[in-house]
Amino acid sequence: MESDSNKIIDSFTRGDYKFGFITDIETDMAPKGLNEDIIRFISAKKNEPDFLLEFRLKAYRHWLTMKMPTWANLKIPPIDFQNIIYFAAPKKKKQLAGLNEVDPELLNTFNKLGISLEEQKKLSGVAVDAVMDSISVKTTFSDTLSKLGIIFCSFSEAVQKHPDLVRQYMGSVVPYTDNFFATLNSAVFTDGSFCFIPKGIRCPVELSTYFRINAANTGQFERTLIVAEEDAYVSYMEGCTAPQRDENQLHAAIVEIVALKNAQVKYSTVQNWYPGNKKGEGGIFNFVTKRGICKGSNSKISWTQVETGSAITWKYPSCILMGDNSVGEFYSVAVTNNMQQADTGTKMQHLGKNTKSTIISKGISAGHGNNSYRGLVRIAKNAVNSRNYSQCDSLLLGDKCGAHTFPYMQVENKSSIVEHEATTSKISDDQLFYCQQRGIDMENAIGLIVNGFSKEVLKQLPMEFAVEAQKLLSISLEGSVG
């Protein structure tokens, strides 16, 4: 696999962001700005039931009372929330039954991204729910999945077809009052994915969603909800790329996961949005609220993320370990190169007895990149005999980048054990020279060292993602040394 990835790295030339192209699809846009009318417009466009409009309006009214958080170790330029288009949908002519009915322009975009739905369907056994801008275009494998009672569809479709499930679980993990960006999302979210695994069912395929931001100046507000009932299992993958553009783009997504008794949910992300140019112009602002609740006993939620893109990343996939013996995991690799900034980590809230959590965070900084790990481990009074192990490693390339670690621990009983280890290292000239003397050029040497550094996290990814992630790590650090 390593040699494959090297080959692929070679095929990429250095420098600019590879996925910088804009698809020309006539979009159905809302006017710029945000007010109750816009929210009503979005809700009407999507033909939503009243409860959802109410939810949105409550969130909006609450949002008006909030201020943007400033506690993160990030320099965020002022965001004009009235200068954002909150709704844009590719014009849909009719309901689509097969790939042949999908807009050829759109298919072409997917082909450029290397995610031909057809190939995905045939070769990899991956069900893809591709989200282009705000409307889901195509869902595959849904027939196979529906035989098992699994629901995997766009959020909008779920609202129409399964309103009771949406009503029951939406906002149950991330309430609309949660934080500035989550509240904004709750008011204006346009689409996303919905996944429901019924009792006792093990989802036989990796579920995968590719998000893509496409229309210029369009904020992207995705909302994903995953529910695994008792004894259910699902592995879910999310990956994204975005076209190059000049103006900053705001992205504020929510992912909610609910795991009932004995259920397991594995959520993997490869995030590769446009990071801006070398001067730091452009690039995605990525403010994401991801949280899962292990509601039932013996349940498990595992987050794995490889974050290489975005100008600013603000993201803390978290677990609420409510059920006794439940397990939360967080595996992360975050790369910041050029002018990128990332403040990312996790929160593990231990509430149930004998709960366990593992945090492995690998931060890689290059150029003028600034990378912070921020994590909270809280063990509540009743969460007796709980355990946490945290490991935060930072790798620096060059001397103009930064790595920071902000671990917070609150342990409220005496029978629990919390461990934290942290290291900071640097790729040395001696290491690079050693590799070069063996015939391995500098770019490959960095790829080798960085992939080695990130190994513990990468091995958590599903196979098809792991290869892509290895490529991405090397590509995103191209030209960072020498």
Binding site: N6, Q437, G439
Partner: protein, 250 residues
Amino acid sequence: MLLSIKNLHASINGKEILRGINLEVNQGEVHAIMGPNGTGKSTLASVIAGRDVFEVTQGEITYKGKNLFKLPIEDRAREGIFIGFQYPVEIPGVSMTNFIRTAVNELRKYKGLDPISAVEFLKMMEENKRLVEIQSNLTNRSVNEGFSGGEKKKNEIFQMAMLEPTLAILDETDSGLDIDALRIVANGVNKLRTKENAFVIITHYQRLLDYIVPDFVHVLFEGRIVKTGRKELAFELEEKGYDWIKKEFE
């Protein structure tokens, strides 16, 4: 002629270390370079490898008829130059297996060959591990990480065996080795000697030359080769010590 060094001058931070080295190495030959500490032995190896902290101020190096200074570090390696390092660096997280396979494939790519097959690679690994009596689990560990001094040196010889260089320069490979490790290292070198390749063995002591018999012995002193002879010169040095050289040339 495999390697030809003419009037080589090199300095670091403005301080001249090499002050006019002349050396010729042919295929099939083993050269030993001896000398007191701090006379430029390791610098010579680094300059041949292409390490850019050293500035070449004068002279030339021709390797296989090419101007070596025009080749980047990795291309020198791909052209068959191998340095066995005195202090091999640790690379955490990169398994020895992955590392050496990457290196082998880079060399193959340079020659226009396809990547080595898994079967062939494993076979080659096994043979060469046996050659240097390396513990099998060593190759699953990260490059040099936590290796003992002896293991690091054996690992250098192992890599040399895997990469099959045309010109191998071993920089004080014997330093810090016990007698068993010394024998293993020397044995590895002897088995790899052919009519096509050449070795330059940099050493402070004569004892390695009990096991690897050189064709030529050079004495490096204050940045110059001040004496060249056959293997007997090494014995003479051992007997008289470096003070003999110092007195003669200071």
